[in-house]
Structures are given as structure tokens and as C-alpha cells.
Amino acid sequence: MSKRNLNHGGTGVLAAVAIAAMPLASPVKAQEGVDLNISLILEGIYFNELREGNESPAGFGGGHHHGDGHDHGHHHGFDEGFNLGHSELVLEAKLGDFMDGTLILGFDDHDVEVEEAYLRTRSLPAGFQLKVGKFLSDVGYINSHHPHDWDFVDRPLVNEYLFGDHGLQEIGVQATWLAPTQSYTLLGVELLQGETSGVANYRGEQSAINGTERILEDTEGPRLITAFAKFAPDLGPDHAVQYGVSAGYARRYQETEAHSTRFEDWNGTAWFAGLDAVYKYDAGRSYGHGNWRLQGEYFYRVIDVDRRDVEFTDVDSDGNPTGRNIGDVRNVQSFKNKQDGVYLQGVYGFAPRWEAGLRAEALGLTNEIGRGDGSSPDPSYRYAAMVTFRPIEPVFLRAQINHNDYADDHGRDRGLDFMLQLNVALGAHGAHRF
């Protein structure tokens, strides 16, 4: 099911968030017997487009392009002015030491969505763990982290355009095995239903037109399998590093789009593979002063489909006959789209409780679109700079500037965005992940 676009009239106001936050600022523990932790993460974002550039990167959705089932509208998803950013209600409960349950509801001022709802085992032997439910995939690094753990306001382009607006978020099963080695070595496999727009877009069977069957067919789930490995040697108290490699295969990737007189249908498969790395330096001073964090990810995606269009009308928009019959088949073709994306970011604690960071991104360094006669749009780039202040641990205020350098069909255009983010975590805020 496609979700509603987040891009509605924003009414959230930073001040309102801050005021609403105050009376709630205490840990919430449910009555004894039930080990339940509740936390609430509230966010407000002020967004200002200082200079308008191209809306979406060439080859990745928008306009008549395919490759993304969602209608993005604005790629950033923010309105000019105030936005109630990405707020979350998190419930974590323990079933003894047998398993943990987690429910994370994400909401803005219009929609509530189950972002994650899963059970995770705590008592399987020999380093095995199973996770069942809806969850963020552990491929890559940032994909499994929630927005309030990010160093920048927005999702990296590679995660947004190769996976989806919520990253790779699916219903399924995950099995991991932590090796009994001195160095951290985690291997994992995920069997997922396969609905993520970027890598496993699924439309199911579409009704025949005037007796002409459509190329799209129903495919039972699970349709997406992923695998990942993470490796982290012990580098002592000052340094920590983690490397990751991940890949996925969707045995069904489908698109359908209504043009003026015909449906354009794609039916095929997709796969992706990527590398990620994180390095953290702990200076040993208070409030993060002198600490470094470096983080980067690269992903490559191939969509391999058959295309077959079917006419649904025999008159054009002016009412004149097109000369074709309803149910006629056109544009029969098999092609591949090969695309990739990468980002690299660094954050430095330049003073106690203050951080500054830079991020550089490229999308479509490989940008081979096989559709039609084939094309190779130019890559798009984005550069971000941010400053974050944490007055007390559960609160941060972040200012960020994005410089977008996107290619599209008409050439390159440069845009400049400004964002101000206030994020408050209330209640029994769980431990931070690495």
C-alpha cells in the first residue's frame, strides 16, 4: 500500500512542541510486573528553501520517470515554514528474558504509521537471534537507525532513492548469528514480504483491458531476501570501527503507470548490494568534546524488467481517435536500470555539547536507464553542513544547510535549503545503538 505523502500543510510549531514537552519530562514506568518502557520523541522542523533547484535527481522518480513507486512531490518532504517533523511513540516490553517486543509508531500532524512492530528473541543458544514482525532492515548502516539518531536532519539520498521514503522497512523474519570470536562478526539473513518501492515495488495482478492480459501478475510473498555481515575489530578505548556488507534480491519488481492513452507496465526482478563503514573516535572528554564520527555507505541497484504497455482508450485527450484499439499492446521491451549512490559524512564535537558536521552525497554515478532507447542521465550531488547543540542529553537543536546540485532532463540546477530541527526524547529513553 502506498502511504500518503508527508507533504501536507504543516501546522506544527516548534514552540508548541517545546511547551507540550515540559509536563511530560519524566520517565514512565508501568506498574510492577510488566516491564514496559515508554518513550516519546517529538520533533519540529523549520524549513526554508533559500534557492530553488531541480526537484528530484535525474533517473530517480519524479516527472515521467520510473524506478520509484511513490509520488515524491518534493523530494525533501518538508513544507516551507514549520513542520511537525518525524515524531515517534516507542513502547518496549520484555517477556521475561525470553523475548523483547517493540512497537514504534511514527506520526506527523496527519498520519500515524506503524514503523516497527516486532518480537526479538533473547534466549536462543549459540549466538542466534530471530526477529519477527515489521522492522527496519539491518542492511547498510543508517537504514536501521531512527531519525533522532541521525547526525543530519534528512535521510541520505542513496537510502531514500534506492530503497524508499522510510528506507528498507518491511514485514518479515530476520535471523542473525553472532560469531563467538574476539572481533565482532555478525551474519544475518532476512526474508521479507517485498513492498519497498525502490527495490521490491509490488503492484500485483492488474485487470485485463478489452481481453488483453496485463504483464503484471500476482506473486506470493516473501518476495525479498537480504543478507548482511558486520565486522568490528576491537581497537581499544579510543577508537571503534564497524564495516558492513549487504545485498538483497527481489524476485518481483513491478511498476504500472497510466499515461494519456495507455498503461505502462513493468514486471521483473531487482537486486542490490552495498558497503558501509563507521568510525568513531572517543576523545575521553565530557559532553562529546573532541569526538569524531565518520560514516559512509555505497549501494548499487539493478532493476531487470520486461515492459509491455496496453492501450486503455482509443481517443486522445482532445477526443480525436488515436488510430489504435483499446487493448492494443505497445512498447514490448526487456531492459535493465543500473543505478547507485554514495554518501560520506563526518561530525566533530568542537565544544562540549556542540557538534558540527559535513556530508557529501552522489546519486547516479552509475545511471544507466534501459527504458525506451536507453539513457544515461548525469549524476546528482548534494552537500550538507550542520551544527547541533545538546543543552541536556535528551534534547537537541540542529541547524542544517543543504546545497543541492541535481541533474534533470533540462540540465543541472542548484538549490539551497535551510533546516532547523528541535528534537526532544521524553520518558525512559532506551540505550543508544552503535
Partner: protein
């Protein structure tokens, strides 16, 4: 369907691994802090192999849930934590990522030190709960050798449950360690002139009151976990005007607030270690006690 075969293979692997449960010879102990590591060595002797997670020069409240910690806990027979919320910012994530049910909370392999002790009260237990860090009482009891002595006994009993054939060995060693801790504490207390007073940065060094004839007059932090504010420091100076004392802070805590008191009250600043070195045995901790006492003219 090929995908379904993966599930079957995975389940088979899970089941197969259930039969392989090797019993290592020395007890693999993972301790969150150097003080707990010291205690494990003092009690466990040559029957334990100890890995300490938190470096001695870092604030144990604020560590990352590093993958290398998970790898260590994955192979542990016994996990020692201070508890009372000290490690709540990172240990739960380490534990859930370590996939080692033997050290899950509530199991014999999980030793939560704060459960066996009565802790000093914390202002966060009464006041508006902004600093959130000491809500279960002050978890920095490693500053108190008398509580460490009590802990040695509890730890010996736990180790004895995990290695029944060595239970007497652990008990004998813990009795010896407890005796030396108490003796050294008494000796140091006798050497310190009475009524020495101090201000600490965080609610941690106030545990010195428990075994030395000293008195804590206040804290540079307005609430544990909240950095010193100018207003709070000015009020401290106003309240302490004309009194004799000293300012103590951990080496990893910033010295700016202490500098303010030094300028306005003329007090000395002492940056001390709160933990012995990560590889310390009992001697290393006794030496650390002497360093603390030396701040007050004893030791």
C-alpha cells in the same frame, strides 16, 4: 520455493547449535567498570579471566554500545554491572546485541552489584527528574571500599554457584579481600584530620563520606547529569563564602566549574581518578584509596 529452503536451513542450524555447549575452564567474566574487574580478579584469582568494558578514564554513564563490547559479552559466563542506572545508556543495547542468554538479566550469569547493596540517596530521587541518571540512588559506590567489601562476599557466592567445585576458594579469597579493604579504609581514615570538607563535580565522590572523616558540601552540577550553570555556581560560592574546603572532580569531568570556586573561594582543585587501571588487582584499588585520602592530607 528457494526462499522457504532458507528458513528450514536456518532452523536446522539453530537446533543443531543447541547441542554444543562447551564448558570453558576459567570463568569468562566481563565487568562493566575497572572497579568491578578488580573485584572479580580479587575474588576469582586464577579461576577467572576478566575483561573490563569501560576504560578507567571515561564516564561510565556515557559510553557507546560498541560492537566490541557485544563480542565480549557474547562469550561471557558472568557479566558484572554496577547497576542502579549507571550503565543504562549503553549496557541494554550491548546485552540485546550479544545474543548470550546465560548473562541475561535475572540469570545467574548476570550480577547486578547494586542489588546487593544499600545505596546513598540521590537528589534525583526526590526532585524534579531532569538529570535522570541517579533515579535508583547513587550508583558510584565503587568509591566506597566498605561497600566493595560487602560486594566481594556476594560476588564470591555467585561465582561459587557457577563453579561449585571452587566455591570455597572464592569465599576464602573474598574474605581476605574484604578484610584488607576494611583495614586499609580504617588506616586511611585515622590519618585524616577531622572535618575536612569538599565540593564534588558529580554525585559520585560523596561516597568518601562513608569511610573517611570528610563532608561533602555540594556539587558543581545542579542535578546529576546536568552541566554546571553560572547561576548554580554563584549560589554555591555565596553559600560557601568564608569556609575552608577543596574541589574534587574526576579527570574526565571538565575543570571550569572548579576553577570558578577556586577563584572566588580560594580552594584547591583536585582532579582524581574514580577507577583503578583496567587491569588492576586489589593492590591497584588500595593504591587508589590512598590517592583519594591524600587529597585530604592523609594517605
Amino acid at each position: 520455493m528457494p526462499l522457504k529452503r532458507y528458513v528450514i536451513v536456518l532452523l536446522a542450524m539453530v537446533l543443531a547449535s543447541a547441542w554444543t555447549a562447551p564448558q570453558a575452564q576459567p570463568l569468562e567474566v566481563v565487568a562493566t567498570t575497572p572497579s568491578l574487574g578488580m573485584l572479580a580478579r580479587a575474588v576469582g584469582g586464577d579461576q577467572v579471566r576478566v575483561r573490563v568494558l569501560a576504560p578507567d578514564d571515561r564516564d561510565p554513564h556515557y559510553l557507546d554500545a560498541r560492537p566490541s563490547y557485544m563480542a565480549a559479552v557474547r562469550r561471557a559466563d558472568l557479566l558484572l554491572e554496577m547497576g542502579a542506572g549507571l550503565e543504562e545508556g549503553w549496557l541494554p543495547a550491548v546485552l540485546s546485541g550479544a545474543a548470550n542468554p546465560a548473562v541475561n538479566e535475572g540469570r545467574r550469569g548476570h550480577f547486578r552489584a547494586s542489588d546487593t547493596l544499600s545505596l546513598r540517596r540521590s537528589v534525583t530521587m526526590d526532585g524534579p527528574n531532569v538529570g535522570h541518571v541517579h533515579a535508583e540512588g547513587n550508583p558510584h559506590f565503587n568509591i566506597d571500599p566498605l561497600r566493595m567489601a560487602v560486594l566481594a562476599d556476594a560476588l564470591a557466592k555467585r561465582m561459587g554457584q557457577l563453579r561449585t567445585e571452587k566455591a570455597d576458594y572464592f569465599l576464602a579469597r573474598s574474605e581476605d579481600a574484604a578484610q584488607r579493604l576494611r583495614q586499609h579504609a580504617r588506616a586511611l581514615a585515622d590519618r585524616i584530620p577531622a572535618d575536612r570538607q569538599f565540593v564534588a563535580y558529580h554525585e559520585d565522590l560523596d561516597y568518601l563520606e562513608e569511610w573517611l572523616p570528610v563532608k561533602v558540601l555540594g556539587y558543581l552540577e545542579p542535578v546529576p547529569g546536568v552541566p554546571p550553570t553560572a547561576r548554580h555556581l554563584r549560589r554555591l560560592v555565596r553559600d560557601l563564602e568564608g569556609r575552608e574546603g577543596r574541589v574534587l572532580h574526576a579527570r574526565y569531568q571538565p575543570s571550569r566549574g572548579a576553577g570558578f570556586l577556586q577563584r572566588h573561594l580560594g580552594w584547591d582543585i583536585h582532579a582524581v581518578s574514580l577507577e583503578p587501571p583496567v587491569d588492576a588487582d586489589l593492590e591497584g584499588y588500595l593504591e587508589l584509596m590512598s590517592q583519594w585520602a591524600a587529597v585530604f592530607g592523609g594517605g
